[in-house]
Assembly symmetry: C2
Homo-oligomer: 220 residues x 2
């Protein structure tokens, strides 16, 4: 089983300090929600984000959406060989059941994430998505992988198709992909660092490379 962790994702509710910022207040009103119930989104809350530490990289639920749509609809996942987790900058962890059919529409996805932050489980009966307070260290301990790879621009260079083979040498490897637009991990300082390309890649591109190249060795 391949365990894919989208780590330190920029998925969060607006922090206390900007809850009364006009960009947040007006957006929330338009959506019929309270300011502390909406997902922070750089497209709409840019002015408010400038007041925050790391403001230039925060509020990127779109990256999580793209990574999840690619992972969940992959052949590897359909064949039951993939588990996907989303870890966020604030140490929320989302467990995603493999059979989850995520909304394709971005605005509906935001609505779903808002429900998840509120209810911690959606939908209540099926529990396709569950959210827990957990650090990435705790998540890793729980998964108990027999290898940990961290996808990193400055990691050891390896051709993507060779990385698939490397993964297949393990029974339960974990692959960590940063769920942020640029910059470095803030806390992930363990695992073997791997770079698939001379240059930066989007998080969802790395997800695609890892999954598709693993299929060759994971599938019959």
């Amino acid at each position: 089983m391949l365990h894919l962790i989208i780590a330190e994702s920029e998925l969060e509710l607006p922090p206390e300090s900007i809850l009364d910022h006009p960009a947040i207040v007006n957006y929330a009103k338009r959506r019929g929600k309270k300011p502390n119930e909406i997902i922070l989104d750089s497209t709409y809350h840019h002015a408010a984000l400038r007041k925050l530490e790391d403001g230039e990289r925060r509020g990127r639920p779109d990256i999580v959406h793209l990574c999840l749509l690619n992972a969940l609809e992959s052949i590897l996942n359909k064949e039951g060989k993939l588990r996907v987790y989303v870890h966020t900058r604030n140490d929320d962890v989302i467990y995603v059941k493999p059979e989850t059919r995520l909304p394709r529409n971005y605005n509906r996805f935001l609505g779903l994430m808002e429900s998840l932050f509120k209810e911690k489980i959606v939908p209540k009966d099926l529990g396709l998505l569950r959210m827990k307070k957990k650090t990435i260290d705790q998540l890793i301990k729980e998964i108990n992988p027999d290898a940990i790879f961290v996808m990193h621009e400055k990691g050891e260079k390896i051709k993507p198709w060779e990385f698939g083979k490397t993964l297949a040498e393990f029974r339960d490897p974990a692959v960590i992909v940063g769920g942020f637009p640029h910059g470095d991990f803030r806390k992930v300082d363990f695992g073997k660092r791997i770079s698939l390309y001379d240059g930066s890649l989007m998080a969802w591109t790395v997800v695609n490379e890892v999954i598709v190249n693993a299929e060759r060795y994971y599938l019959p």
Copy 2:
């Protein structure tokens, strides 16, 4: 060079017959646009779509968005070995320059597509996206590929990683992926039909499989 065509995509302005439907009129008003200037979107125009032929599959700009984000951010594209085209049900063809950095945010992407339908070229100076009236047959004639593969559930079964090798036997192959949510092509009745999996795959999953598996043979 690999030529990827997202064909018969469900990307269009609302047809004449539903321009006065409340679902279209109200949505357009909310966006500050005329009803004939908005992109048809099943998430918002479902009630209007029920009045249309093929209504259950139309209005899916999200599929085009996902396919393009995956293709344009791929390693194959960054290495200059990929050309991407979007062909629509109404025979509009979008030429996408490889260096295009598409909006990651879905709502901004819709805005961009609305500009493109209006102006036929965006942005005016760089011309990253250009739209022409053209059938898929005309587009194929223009590309002049030395092989044509049509990704199709009922095509010849081939492992995704073997398909990459097949592609590499040609200099300028064209790969056609249906840009619709389900059902069959309406007009594409040429090319060699290829199936990568026993079961249906999303258009963007097929795009990922084709591109990533081609990289192994296209890149040094």
